[in-house]
Each structure stands twice: as C-alpha cells, then as structure tokens.
Amino acid sequence: MAAWIQRNKFSVILGVVVLVLAYIYYFSDKTTALSMYRYAWTYAVPLVLCALVGVIGERSGVVNIGIEGQLLVSAFAGFFGAAYSGSLIVGILSGVGCGLILGGFLAWTTVKWRMDQIIAGVVLNIVATGITSFYYKPGQLLPALMPHWSIPGLSSIPLIGEVFFKGTGVIALIAIIAVFGIHFGLFKTTWGLRTRAIGEYPSAADTAGINVITMRLVNVTLAGALAGLAGVFLSMDSTSSFERGMSAGRGFLALAIMIFGAWRPLRAAAAALFFGFVTAAASQLQADQVINVPPQLVGTLPYVLTLVVLAVAAGRVRAPGAVGQPFVKEGK
C-alpha cells in the first residue's frame, strides 16, 4: 500500500485535495453542492463509459473514432426499442445490441479488412447520423421511467454515497463497476497483459502466441456494449427522449478524456468527472447570474475545455505504440 502511494504520489495528493475541497463546499452549502455534483455525475456517466470504449480499443491497437456513432445509434435503438415494445428491458437490450453490432462492424472493417481506422470511424458516425435522422419519429414516449434505487448502507455516506449511490440507475452503477473492473482487468489479469501487448507491439505478442487479430476483434466488439449502455443512458435515463444528433460530440469528448486520462480507466473516470464538474459549475454560475455569458456560449464550454485539455495533455502522455496500425501477420 505504501509503495503504491509512493508510486502514485501525484494522483493521491491531487485526489485527496479535490476530495477535501469537495467536502468543504458540501458542508458549506449542501443543496447547491449536491445538485452540482449530481449534475456532474449524470453528465459524466456516458463519458466514462465511452472513454472506457476508447481505452479498450486503443490499448488493443484500434482507434475508435466511431464511438459517437455507436452512442447515437444505441440511444436511438434503446429509446425506440422501449417505446415500440413497451418494455424497458427490450430497449436496453436493443441499445446494447446496437453498440455491439457497430463495434463488431468497426472491428471487422479495421482489423480484418485493414480499412483505415479513422476513415472507418468517421464513416460509422455519418452512417449513424443518416440512420437515426431518417428513421426518427417525433412524439414517442417511454413506457415507464428507468428505475432508480438507493443502495442501502452506501447511500448514507455523505457526499460520495449521496452522489453515486442514492437514487441511482442501473447504468450509472455499471459505469462505476466497469471503471474499476476494467482497470483491474487491464493491469492485473492475463487478458489485460495480452491486450496491452497487442496494442504496444503486436508482432512480439504474435510471436508469444497471442492471436492478435482475434483478440482485437473480440475486444473492440465487446467494448461496443459499453457504448451501447452509454447511449441507453442518454436517451432513457438522464433524459426520456431521443433527439436527432443528441450525442452532441460526446463520443469525441470521451476520446479527449481518454487521452487526458493517459489511457488508464481510473484516470479517465476522474477526467470525466472533472469535465462534468466544470460543466455543472458553468451552468450554476450562469443560473446564479454570477457570470453573464450567453447560454449558447456556455454550451460550448465542454468543447473548448477539450481543446485546452488536449493541448495541455498532448506530449505529456504516450499513446499505445501500435495504435492506428493494422496488424499484418508476417508471411501472409
């Protein structure tokens, strides 16, 4: 434990400072603080999930620019699946299914057919926009609201419990579990070691007997389920409607968050919370009329923040070595 703290001194100190500040603010103004933190977490959930999609993809050596499209189609499929079938479960399943299908599509085109990964992702996004805007029908309603629970015990912790475990939906909980699970998986399991190997140096991994192609296919496809959950969260949990283009660049924000988080799930989640908090703070200041900036410009804040974050983070963090390059087995 001591060694771990020694190694991650900066993160630990930063985390403690942030937590202390958050608690100070929480005890000074409970209602505002809590609503801001909740807003931040709700904003961050899809970003966390999508950043994980990006992390898994890039750690395996595949750039996923198509997260935005996966998110949009899943939001669409989740909402209309639930609206037409009258069952939330069907909606969630169809959303996740669409995430998987698009993940599989991206994996197959880039890994098997060695299509340029950036172009494949952009094409995926445009196809997603085309499908969702053509088949969009206004005036549909969800059969019911998504259930929200409070986890007994955990939800009574001040601040943390109240934000993360009180009145929370299943997808937000999955997001928390996924962050820790994938972090553990990436750095402590065989799967993680192999995944990092095929993303850093695929030919070495291949020599060691790892099937690079299959592993990339499986990883990128399965990661699509997380994007599917994020999409379902957007259209069924945080709001109860689907709009054209409702993903609004979140898939790309998630990529920036992934880079900011140095391709590590925990740091990416922290970065997503930071994004959520800045957005929450901006809208709070706007509502309190502390700052008088037009709302349209406040709305661009996450995107401006992304540019700033990328400009700062780029060069300080290192991408997986083989990211973006298709793997061609020698002698083939």
């Binding site: 340029d116 196809v127 085309g130 969009y136 540019l307």
Partner: protein
C-alpha cells in the same frame, strides 16, 4: 552550304517505363483494371442506389418513381438545374476542403464548422456594409475566406504545435462554431429583429447578391474554377508536390527538407478558406441573409464528396454535382411521395460506406486492389 545543327547528345530514350503494376494485356478487362478505382466508385454508387431503392420500397413508394422524381426535380423542372448548380457550388468547395488536407495526410472533418462560422461572419459583415453595393459582396467573400482560414488554422496549429489529432479538434471546433453562430443571431452582433420566428441576421443588399448568369450561378463557376486550380496546384506545382510528399511519407519529406509544419498549416488554411468561401457564397448567392440552419449538412457532405472523388480535386465537381442532385431533388421527393428528405442522408451514408470499404475493390479485382487504398491519415503522428 547548310549547317546541320549538332544533334543533341542522345541518351537512352527518356520515355518513362510503365509502372510495374500496370496490368499487361489488351481488351476490356485490362482497361477496367487500369481504371479500377472508377469502377469501384461506380459499383459503390450502383450498390447504394439499390440499397436506397430497397429502403424507399420499404416505405411503400415505388423506387423507380422516387428516383425519377429526384432527377426530374433537380434537372428538368424549370429552374431546377440552376437550383442544383447553386447547391453544387458550395459542395465542390467543402469537398475541396477535405481533399486538400487529405493529400497531406490530414482528415479535415471541420468543413461544417468552417462553413457556418464564415457564413455567419460574412452575413453580419455584408449586412453592416449595406449601401456599399457591389463592394459588400467582395467584402463578404473576403471575410468568409479569412474567417474560415482562421478557424481551420486553430486545428492546424494545435496539430503542429501540440500534436493533437485533427479529427478531434475539428469536430470540437464544429460544435464551438455551432454555439457561436446561435449566439450571434440571438443576442450577439448579428441579431436582427424581424417578423419570422427564425433567428437570423439582417438581409444584405440586392446589389451584393451573387448573380446568376444565363441560368448558371456565378458561385458554381468560381467553385469549378477553384477545383481545377487546386487540381493544377496539386499535380503541377512545387507546393502540390510538397503536399503529396508529406502525405505519402512525412519522414522522407522532412529528410528532404520540406517544412512539414508549414505544409500542414498551409493545407488547413487553404481548406478553411475554401469552406469559408462556400459559407460566404451561400449567404450572398442563396439565402441573402444568415440563419443557423444555413446549408444543412453541406460541410459533412464534403467528406462523402472527397472520398467519392478519391481525393482528386477535379473529380469533386461531378461528385458534388451528384450530391447536389440528390439534395435538390429530395425536397421534391417529399412533396411528391411524403418520404422524409433525410433519405438522402441515408443514401449518402451508404455511398460513403461502400466507397470507403477497400474490400469492395478487392472483391471486384481479387488481389489487384492495392491501388484502391484510400488516401488516408493515421492516428497520433
């Protein structure tokens, strides 16, 4: 006595040897192989038309009738061709805005943002310059070009200075531009009180409209000329050679002394300027004011056009014309059959999908598909 001029020292015939991958043999098949990228595109277009037909059929409308309506509306109806050309002009430019950076190995997804922000600023400027007559047109176009170039150069600078990938930055800039233009027309400098509910800038002078001469819009002429100019620039000038070299191998280009960062910056500035010109032309030639919904998804259509044109500037003209036909005809399609005009988005997306999947070429030509690789960029360098 006649002096026969000394024959020049003859060396080996300077005729360039045929490229080795040129398939030998005569006949139709070798012709097809030599022109394989065109064949791939034609097959992709046919395929997307067929898929589109199936989708239209599924909506309960005869596909034949639907396509007929689109083409009739876009080409044969009185004034239809003019409308189509009017639509084609900005599409050529936004296509070029993707093509030029693509040659350098950059993927400019930001055509949409560069387009709308330039259109907004040009609209506000041209409204402010009302009374300047024809001068307002010149000012508006110049402002459009400058604003677009500046907007694109943000992404280029982040790329050269910090190494941030241009796909993310240009998308972010698109979203930022969307926020800014809404602010401009609602509470910002462009807000104009009028009776309609749509927020917009003030109307520009009739003298500053872009004219249509004998049914051909001036904007189309300018756009086509620029496409040809870009084609010439890329294939015949040192600058074009530098662009291609950086795009094909950055390290070799750097070793040869080509200033890579300057080339990247220049390509994005050119792209932004072209997209910006498209925005200003849309204000001066079509809308005569600015509103946020201007041009719809013209900027994103540029991506489809660039990939359809196989990143060749000249080919953006027919590619843009085709997209222009679909976009113009879609309105008539909705009127005649009730199919939402978004069907065009779907058909274009399928086209893009089929055009960009390299395996299509491999299916048609088996192993000879190496030439069909799309010009492209890669991540993180």
């Amino acid at each position: 006595m006649s002096v026969t001029p000394e024959p020049p020292p003859t060396t080996a015939p300077t005729k360039a040897p045929n490229p080795p991958e040129e398939p030998s043999g005569a006949g139709l098949f070798s012709l097809i192989l030599r022109r394989q990228s065109i064949v791939v595109i034609l097959v992709a277009l046919l395929g997307s038309a067929l898929i589109g037909a199936a989708l239209i059929r599924y909506q309960g409308v005869s596909p034949w009738y639907a396509y007929q309506t689109i083409f009739k509306e876009a080409l044969l109806v009185d004034g239809g061709l003019t409308r189509t050309l009017l639509k084609t002009a900005p599409l050529i430019l936004t296509g070029l805005a993707v093509v030029i950076p693509l040659r350098v190995g950059l993927f400019n997804i930001g055509g949409q943002g560069q387009f709308v922000i330039s259109a907004a600023v040009a609209g506000v400027t041209a409204y402010a310059a009302r009374g300047a007559g024809f001068g307002a047109l010149i000012i508006g176009l110049l402002v459009g070009v400058l604003v677009g170039a500046m907007w694109a150069s943000i992404a280029a600078l982040l790329k050269t200075w910090r190494g941030v990938h241009e796909v993310i930055t240009t998308i972010m800039l698109n979203n930022i531009a969307a926020g800014i233009i809404w602010w401009m027309v609602t509470t910002g400098p462009g807000a104009f009180k009028n009776t309609s509910q749509i927020p917009m800038t003030g109307p520009i002078d009739k003298a500053a409209w872009m004219p249509t001469i004998a049914g051909i819009p001036l904007g189309f002429v300018i756009a086509a000329a620029l496409a040809i100019l870009c084609g010439w620039m890329l294939s015949r000038t040192t600058m074009g050679f530098r662009f291609d070299t950086v795009g094909k191998n950055k390290f070799a280009a750097g070793y040869a002394g080509i200033p890579i960062n300057r080339v990247i910056l220049l390509s994005m500035v050119l792209a932004g300027g072209l997209a910006g010109l498209a925005g200003a032309m849309e204000v001066h030639g079509v809308m005569h004011h600015f509103e946020p919904a201007i041009g719809g998804t013209l900027g994103f259509d540029g991506i489809t056009i660039a990939l359809l044109a196989r990143s060749n500037p000249i080919w953006t003209i027919p590619a843009a014309f085709l997209v222009g036909i679909l976009r113009t005809g879609a309105a008539g399609l909705q009127f005649a059959t009730g199919i939402a005009p978004e069907i065009v988005d779907l058909i274009l997306a399928i086209t893009l999908l089929l055009v960009s999947i390299p395996v299509l070429g491999r299916w048609i030509f088996r192993s000879r598909a190496d030439k069909v690789q799309a010009a492209a960029t890669s991540w993180g360098n």
